[in-house]
Structures are given as structure tokens and as C-alpha cells.
């Protein structure tokens, strides 16, 4: 048995148990007199208007798309940057040119996005 982790299990059990206890106990003890005004969703004192499931602007999605692509580019650049110094000693400039090619391809993509107007927030007339 892995008794090293027993303390973790106890911690998790106590945490969950604590929360359950704190939810269950008031539920048992408090009076229950529901009233339409009391049941309204809390929005910092304001009266809520409309449904809670609204449609977000599609531009958020475009921005997220572009972000994901370049974020992944950075993810790949990190390990390369960490070992670059030792690579430079053994292999010279070649690792640099490899990463250069990678970034170049993505730069072409960025240029295309820019030209298509996907980096603008305000929806203007796009090229295509």
C-alpha cells in the first residue's frame, strides 16, 4: 500500500466532506419560504434582463483562432530556445535556419490574415 499518499486522500476526503457538511447543515436548519423575488438570479443588485445564454460575437472566435495558432508556435519555440546554446556549439547556424523557416511559414500566414482583415476588430469591407 502506498501510505505516502494516504495523507493526500485524507485531505481530499476532509475537503469534500467539509463542503458537503456546510451545504447540508443549513439546508436542514433553515426555513424554506420561496418567493418569486427571492428566487431571481443574483446580478449585483440589478434586475436581470433576458436569458443567460447569449450569443457571443463571432469576432471573439476569430481572435481565439489566431491566438491558438501563434500560441502553439511559441510552445514549439520554447524547447528550441532552451537548448539553442548547446546546439550552436555542436551544429553551428543550422538550428537557427530551421527555426527561421518555421517562423517564416507562420509569418506568411500572418500576412495573409492581415490582408484578409481578420486582425481588425471593427468589421470593415474585407478584400475577398
Amino acid at each position: 500500500m502506498h501510505f505516502d499518499y494516504l495523507s493526500v486522500l485524507v485531505l481530499v476526503a476532509l475537503g469534500i466532506g467539509n463542503v458537503l457538511f456546510m451545504v447540508a447543515l443549513p439546508k436542514l436548519l433553515r426555513p424554506s419560504k420561496p418567493n418569486p423575488q427571492k428566487l431571481v438570479a443574483y446580478e449585483c443588485g440589478e434586475n436581470p434582463v433576458g436569458t443567460s445564454w447569449i450569443q457571443y460575437n463571432a469576432r471573439f472566435f476569430s481572435v481565439a483562432l489566431v491566438f491558438v495558432v501563434f500560441d502553439v508556435e511559441i510552445v514549439f519555440m520554447f524547447p528550441w530556445a532552451v537548448v539553442f546554446k548547446s546546439l550552436y556549439k555542436t551544429q553551428g547556424c543550422v538550428p537557427f535556419w530551421e527555426m527561421f523557416t518555421f517562423v517564416l511559414v507562420l509569418l506568411v500566414g500572418l500576412a495573409y490574415l492581415w490582408a484578409q482583415g481578420l486582425l481588425e476588430w471593427v468589421k470593415s469591407v474585407r478584400k475577398a
Binding site: 502506498h2 505516502d4 463571432a58 472566435f61 483562432l65 491558438v68 495558432v69 502553439v72 510552445v75 514549439f76
Partner: protein, 114 residues
């Protein structure tokens, strides 16, 4: 700290995979299906990293895992892009409702053509 061994990782990965498959098979909402797909891909990730340690390959599994994360992200992006197009056309993202393309049953076909 005692070494856990390989089995718990495999169990976790298999559980995640089965949950992912269950998610894909039972949900009507497309985003729910996407969540199932991500679960499956991440289950495979856990598997890969665990095996990498077990097999004695210090780097291969880790690189594979990063690659899988990248591809899962790209796949989700394309999935959501096509989902947006579907919503524009069909006004719904439920899987059952998107079905213009069907096999023709011989009996119905005659009615449609007439």
C-alpha cells in the same frame, strides 16, 4: 517516495478514454462531442507519456505528447469553424437535426419524384 509503477497511469488513461467514447456516443450537442474527442486525445496523451517513462525513452513520448496537444488544438479549431458554418445554415448544433443527406429508401423515393 515509492514508485507508483505503470498500471495506475494506464488505468487512468483507459478510464478517460472510455469516458470520452461515452461522451461522443451519447451526446446530441456538438460541443459535447468535441469534449469527448478531447478526452480521448488526452487519454492517449497520458498513455504516451507513461509509456515513455516505462520504456526508457526519455524524450520521444514527451515530444509526441506536445505534438498531440498541438493537433488536438488544431482539430478543435477546424471543428468549431465548421460548426459555426453549420449553425449559420441549420440554426442548430444538435447532431440529429443536421441531416439533409440521407440514403433514399426505395418506397419514399417514388413519392418524392412524383
Amino acid at each position: 517516495m515509492q514508485v507508483i509503477g505503470l498500471t495506475p497511469y494506464l488505468v487512468v488513461a483507459s478510464t478517460l478514454f472510455c469516458l470520452g467514447v461515452f461522451c461522443v456516443l451519447t451526446r446530441r450537442n456538438s460541443i459535447g462531442i468535441l469534449i469527448g474527442v478531447e478526452l480521448m486525445l488526452n487519454a492517449a496523451n497520458v498513455n504516451i507519456v507513461a509509456f515513455s517513462r516505462y520504456v526508457g525513452d526519455p524524450v520521444g513520448g514527451q515530444i509526441f505528447a506536445i505534438l498531440v496537444i498541438l493537433l488536438a488544438a488544431s482539430e478543435a479549431v477546424i471543428f468549431l469553424g465548421l460548426l459555426m458554418a453549420v449553425y449559420q445554415r441549420f440554426d442548430t448544433i444538435e447532431v440529429d437535426k443536421v441531416s439533409l443527406l440521407k440514403d433514399e429508401v426505395p418506397g419514399d423515393d417514388a413519392h418524392e419524384r412524383a
